[in-house]
Symmetry: D2
Subunit: 296 residues, 4 copies
């Protein structure tokens, strides 16, 4: 069930804090001016910052041990958008939405698009979830999707991605992100090189159908759900693939998807250097998980 947040309520809450905020802002302005930095220039840049909210982000996440949903969880994509609207009203920098297919598959794209736009939101990017089986799915992704040894499974996963592109077109999206759970749990399970070849073959089929003006994002991750190896495990492999695919393919860096002690900021600099930085995912723990348990 969506939560109604009136702009009046936000304004009223802000009002009570405005004086302090202005006071702090003025003092920060003085401090920056001492260093010859113009606070208004920084403020303009900060105000221009936009981040897309993933549609699953308004639900309660979990671990393999348990999921503890709270009251009022969204039950469908419309309720998710209603919750995203609340986030947008509060933070003002999240008009874009990142949709996950098949979780958020709309029955009627124009209706969903209008539903979003009437709330000041828009569908920005699409994501193909081929790391789970859906009820009634013909072939299982248990042993892989876009890199499966069986061509029929790869074909199914490719089709799922192409569906994302079609849906995205009708929803007004401009980006498509591919993250797969494909990998191996033991040494020897996967042929490292052949799996990468299959990955590239599948991605080429997707890239070929990328709508005009879109960008394709490849997201890497070294572990989870695969325990031993993942096909797109690090930025080096991601960069290689993005380069092979073409100028509209980019690497996407999830700030949390790296082995311990990795210098992630240097990886970001490398991808900027190589012209292949597509964007970021910000890994966070669902804050809702923790709000009730303060114990001091």
């Amino acid at each position: 069930m969506g939560f109604e947040l009136s702009e009046d309520r936000v304004a009223a809450d802000n009002d009570g804090r405005l004086e302090c905020l202005q006071d702090d802002y003025d003092h920060l302005g003085l401090q920056l001016a001492r260093r010859n930095v113009d606070i208004e220039a920084l403020t303009s840049r900060a105000a221009a910052f936009r981040v897309a909210v993933p549609s699953w982000g308004v639900g309660t996440g979990g671990t393999r041990f348990a999921r503890f949903p709270g009251p009022g969880e969204p039950r469908n994509v419309f309720e998710k958008l209603e919750d995203c609207e609340v986030v947008f009203k509060l933070v003002r920098s999240t008009p874009g939405i990142s949709l996950h297919i098949p979780w958020d598959r709309p029955q009627n794209s124009p209706v969903l698009r209008m539903f979003a736009e009437s709330r000041g939101l828009f569908i920005e990017s699409m994501n193909s979830n081929t790391f789970q089986d859906q009820p009634g799915q013909p072939l299982s992704y248990k042993y892989g999707s876009l890199t499966h040894v069986d061509q029929a499974v790869r074909r199914q996963a490719i089709e799922q991605n192409l569906e994302c592109l079609q849906l995205g077109l009708s929803l007004g999206a401009r980006y498509h992100t591919v993250w797969i759970g494909d990998g191996g749990n033991f040494p020897g399970q996967l042929h490292f090189r052949r799996a990468l070849d299959r990955y590239l073959d599948s991605l080429r089929a997707i890239y070929q159908k990328l709508p005009a003006g879109w960008r394709l994002f490849l997201e890497h991750k070294p572990y989870e759900p695969a325990f031993y190896s993942t096909v797109l495990g690090d930025w080096g492999t991601s960069y290689y693939c993005a380069r092979e695919l073409g100028e509209r393919a980019f690497s996407l860096v999830d700030l949390g998807h790296h082995v311990p002690n990795t210098n992630v900021e240097q990886i970001v600099a490398r991808l900027i250097h190589l012209g292949k930085l597509g964007g970021f995912h910000f890994t966070t723990v669902n804050s809702e998980t923790t709000t009730l348990t303060r114990d001091r």
Copy 2:
């Protein structure tokens, strides 16, 4: 559905391999004899090795992303025991079973015990799962169980442990293992010291009711499901608690539950040194996950 494995079938399969095995055994005997090691003495020790099978181990595990169950998964504790019997017939060193409550709660303990014993199995240890909510559970473990800030939740978790002891008594068990998911996802969420005090209080209530001849095992884990801190996060805390509780409380070492680069074997030596090594959990990836995907 349980899988019937006849001893004849095992024997027939073994027969075909016996000659090679005997040949390899003889040669290994010669190699050891060169170093003045008696192979028969080693064989006796190996043959005496016993490990209890966790009842959940015959199901398909998963990750937070997905679970891909296979055909023939056990649907209840009886079918789990049938599958454990297959394991036992194959490896011969696993007559003991480690039961998890409430997952495996029997409606009639004597029936379950007889069911196990008629298959050459016995219930060896009990485990209290307070890291999930069960349907109809009065209070949620979302924010902790044995260390929850609310005494009523702690009381419920303690009762669940005491139920394990009662059930275990009627089933012939001798060990009780406590692993909790309690912890915090962010700095400041948990008061480290108070949480440990509550843990010890709860454990004392359980230890007090430990049946004669039983041992209590405390299992530590540094992460998962809690992302930032866990109440019983390392062997040092586990040892301290086991010592506080009394001579029948011991630390249990899961070989996988440590931060990267930890020298786990040294921890084992320390606990032996301190007389507090209770046993091991062997963390493995479900081998079933990988049997069908060889790709060479």
Copy 3:
């Protein structure tokens, strides 16, 4: 060669910044007051903070690859103290000095003590360096010091610690810190339990001679210089030893001496809980290393 820093020069430099500092302090006071926090109370606590400077800290550190000393490096303990005086004049919270023996062994303790005290400094703690061989040293520490399998080597290392206590008494110190490099580079090299027994035996001999009013600090470290295992490798072992030794023995936590992903702040909380937190070492990279190379 010591560097002369006049208080006038410091005062003159401070003068130019005082107005801004006062302005920022006032504004921070306002911000804290909004949260009902009294800035003066916090300032008093911050002003009371003291940290001892290790005598080696005023030299240039290095790695196993190279050491790149700068001009004006102190050549002896007196020049080290002159440099510590500069640090003290600048930061005001470091009157104490932590001496390392044999590096800083004085020929005449009263002279050194007076040299320090005339500069507003005092010798606070002693450290026994038994991880290196000194020219002319009868027995080598190559394979261990306080835990060496050869009793004669252990005896030599104990004597070196007792010398620290004697020197410290004459210098006015009150703490003695023991960190050893003892450990093993390969599985099987060290008998984990016997090595710990020898450690405790050696420490008992030192603890027995601890001067009245002193505290003994045990510092743990999981790696380096030993690659595979160290005798005092984690807080659990350190706590056990401190408890065995007696009420004047404590664990010292070097914030950098832990395996990746360790929750160090929780370890600190545990040691506070157990009444065994002796203090901290703050691991830093020698800032001098980096001051000249800014490249933006």
Copy 4:
């Protein structure tokens, strides 16, 4: 001082073990035959394996804490080669030598080459050590070598590499390996992208002078001596640079130079896939360090 090892002594020692070896070999042959594997084919491949010994490998390594040299350490490049000869006589697979300049700079290359060849050895690869300052060196590598912000320092480091190529030509080498210690100890110290640009500029100058038939190896390392970032920190950067330089430039993988939990074997597979695997460095702890301390 070199250690003389007669072939007779080796043969005599082998003689006493030959019978057991033959017996074990025969039995292993039987075991492999059961799996349709021809032991002689495997033996041929194993016998063809060659690894070059680094000239520094016959000395005693150390840590930043101490170096504990043993008796008989080689004092110059000739004594190092004598020791390498002993290694070669024992293991038979190490005729090649990897020389480090300036450590092993010969005064007369033909004499050194003849000295090696008369012992069945040959100089296989060169290495440029620009991570230390040598006495009398005009410019310091304290803040970098091939990537230093000062062009004069880069020029000096390039010249040192070109000297390696010249020396290597006269010594009969065919490979040149570049590993640099350049990096930063703090965020902000190094401009990630500009440092990489300077690295590539320097490497291009070296690659341009690479003698006909040679290969250039780039060795990456994520930490040490730099604590925060290194210019060539991972395989992704190494691959990019090798590709930029040309078809005779390759990535060299030191099996130990990766952050914890890295899947190094997958990196090797990637570089094979991309045609850029130059070779390996096998990181080991100097076994000499541990031979005397067995304690069981």
